[in-house]
């Protein structure tokens, strides 16, 4: 890839590679989706650029990225709708380039726009899909009914699809993905365009499905990942920029913060406290404000601080030594939103820098 992109991008690569070398908790689990060095190019534009990740059996993985990051393209390739430019994808042991039929048989795929045949009734559509996916005739009826029950559209079986609301269409799409009982579900933005109630329902549904299926779902909404997924793969500009469990991702914040609630020492002033902390501890910024007779103090550690916990301990010891009473000390965890912004933003900055350097 470095050859394709030109040498200056090597530095970017090495950084990405270091990021990928995370402790992997899923190493012992059977891998059912294996994507290695997947690239999809449209002329000179790389929609997906050297993406590699794995999904273990039974996992619910969020495929996270801003709009236009290459999520849908990647999922379409996985589902067998698009061909790849280079790379390799193995679904449940079947290479999608060589054994496309078997790979497709293992998948239930719900495209982003949930395209359906409006002129069919829900039950007709699902029967058609079941037959298309090779469900034997004698099992078809039971499977369709079960899928409708699971996606909670059983009371709409006789309704024409074009009369359904967006939320119900989404559920019919989900029932379609489920109808052949595939071990793997790939859902492209399953909650896009739904109202908050419907979003909650669909998430509950996905959580329920996660008990029996391996699920890879894409989204650009972070709470979705927190609500449904055990692990996330973050993609930006066609590249994987972060991967890991939610905890791992959170712990990857570069700067961390801490909040303290202090009883002021006698004769102390807010200004002197701030300069004292700035002088004696490795902090980037300090913010002290008065809160009902106590002082709220917010510090942000310097970048070089490797263990924020130890730094906080040191700060508390120092404050107590100086006569302050420490009522509360809370290390602030970066929200996933911050991590996400940081990860996706980093790539942008890096690439800009590289391009500037090359030019």
């Amino acid at each position: 890839m470095a050859m394709l992109l030109g040498i200056p991008r090597k530095c970017l690569e090495s950084k990405l590679l270091r990021r990928l070398a995370l402790p992997v908790a899923w190493a012992s689990v059977a891998v059912v989706i294996e994507v290695s060095h997947l690239t999809k190019a449209y002329g000179a534009f790389y929609a997906v650029n050297d993406v590699s990740f794995q999904v273990g059996k039974g996992e619910v993985v969020g495929f996270l990225g801003p709009n236009g990051a290459g999520k849908s393209t990647t999922l379409r390739i996985l589902a067998g709708f698009l061909g790849m430019t280079s790379g390799k994808v193995v679904i449940a042991g079947h290479d999608i380039a060589e054994d496309s039929f078997e790979a497709r048989r293992q998948l239930g795929y719900m495209p982003e726009a949930v395209p359906l045949y409006g002129e069919m009734r829900v039950i007709e559509y699902l029967k058609f899909r079941a037959e298309l996916k090779g469900v034997p005739r004698r099992e078809r009826r039971a499977r369709v009914e079960q899928a409708m029950a699971e996606a909670r559209v059983d009371d709409l079986a006789e309704t024409l699809i074009h009369k359904l609301s967006k939320g119900y269409k989404q559920r019919v799409g989900l029932a379609d993905a489920l109808v052949a009982r595939p071990p793997i579900l790939i859902l492209d933005e399953p909650t896009a365009g739904l109202d908050p109630n419907q979003i909650r329902e669909v998430r509950e549904l996905i959580r329920g499905l996660g008990e029996r299926h391996t699920i890879l779902l894409s989204t650009h909404i972070l709470p979705e990942v927190e609500a449904t997924c055990g692990r996330a793969v973050v993609i930006a500009r066609g590249k994987v920029v972060g991967e890991g469990t939610l905890e791992e991702l959170r712990s990857r914040r570069r700067s961390s913060r801490a909040r303290l609630l202090l009883r002021p020492a006698e004769g102390a002033e807010i200004g002197t406290l701030r300069t004292w902390i700035e002088k004696n501890f490795s902090v980037r910024s300090v913010n002290v404000s008065e809160q009902e007779g106590l002082w709220g103090c917010e510090v942000q550690w310097e970048k070089k601080v490797e263990d924020p916990g130890a730094a906080l301990e040191e700060l508390v010891r120092g404050l107590v030594g100086a006569g302050y009473g420490v009522r509360e000390a809370t290390p602030a965890k970066a929200t996933l939103d911050e991590v996400f912004a940081q990860l996706t933003d980093d790539t942008a900055k890096l690439e800009d820098g590289v391009e500037g350097g090359a030019g």
Binding site: R76, A79, G80, F81, L82, G83, F101, E102, R104, R105, L107, Y109, P111, A113, P115, L116, Y117, G118, E119, M120, E124, F128, R129, E131, L132, K133, G134, D176
Partner: protein, 248 residues
């Protein structure tokens, strides 16, 4: 061929549930009904009728009324095939199911052929009407139908190909008509050109002379070879185009 049967059934379902098939069949039968009654009127005024130039021959390709509806209605039967799937995005769910491209293309084309046959079926009654007034050689009628079946297969295959080339049904219809009308016009060359290779070529392509043969009970293998080619080639091209979408 995996996935052929369910797609074929759904295609017929869609064709008859959206009234497209019904509209086309009604238009076709109204035109053919008029055509047939005009012919009957014409032959009724004739003192005697030559054996190989009777109403059956006239009906199967003696007049423009057979070709005009086919040139327009055949692309109408196939315009939905792929264009609609791509416009609505359902092609994505269709192609991510374990189906083969060949099965998909054949299912769509055969559904159109089935509708085409259903469209012609009521015209057997016209033959029954002729039968009442005189002799009727059912073998000749059979070759007449074989002729229109061959023409239909090739026009519908061409229409399927055109439908795979655009996302718009209207565009698919227009392209399909351009091709069928184009072939028809080349066939007219047989009547206007002087003897020579150009005239032979036009005669080979001409749907007029094809139907002229079939309506007289002549089954020429060259005609059948032509129809088969004009069916197989477009269908093969369609399979390749549909496969190529994955790489677009």
């Amino acid at each position: 061929m995996r996935g052929f049967w369910p797609v074929y059934k759904r295609e017929l379902f869609a064709m008859f549930v959206t009234p497209l098939a019904w509209v086309i069949i009604v238009v076709f039968l109204v035109i053919q009904g008029l055509h047939f009654s005009l012919l009957l009127g014409h032959f009724a005024r004739q003192p005697d009728v030559v054996a190989d130039h009777g109403p059956v021959q006239a009906f199967f390709g003696g007049t423009i009324f057979l070709y005009l509806p086919l040139l327009i209605l055949c692309p109408g039967l196939t315009m939905r095939a792929f264009a609609e799937e791509r416009r609505s995005g359902t092609i994505e769910t269709l192609m991510t199911a374990p189906v083969s491209t060949t099965g998909l293309v054949l299912a769509k084309w055969l559904a159109a052929v089935t509708t085409y046959v259903a469209m012609w079926a009521p015209t057997v009654l016209y033959m029954a009407v002729i039968r009442k007034t005189g002799d009727l050689d059912w073998n000749v009628v059979g070759t007449g139908y074989l002729g229109v079946f061959g023409v239909g297969c090739s026009y519908l295959a061409l229409g399927t190909l055109m439908s795979a080339m655009t996302r718009s049904q209207l565009m698919a219809l227009v392209l399909g008509m351009l091709v069928t009308v184009g072939l028809f016009v080349i066939g007219i060359g047989e009547m206007v050109l002087d003897d020579g290779w150009a005239r032979d070529f036009c005669s080979y392509v001409s749907v007029w002379s094809q139907m002229d043969d079939f309506s007289k009970g002549i089954v020429d293998l060259r005609r059948i070879a032509f129809d088969t080619t004009m069916t197989a080639l477009p269908l093969f091209a369609t399979v390749r185009i549909v496969d190529a979408w994955r790489w677009g």
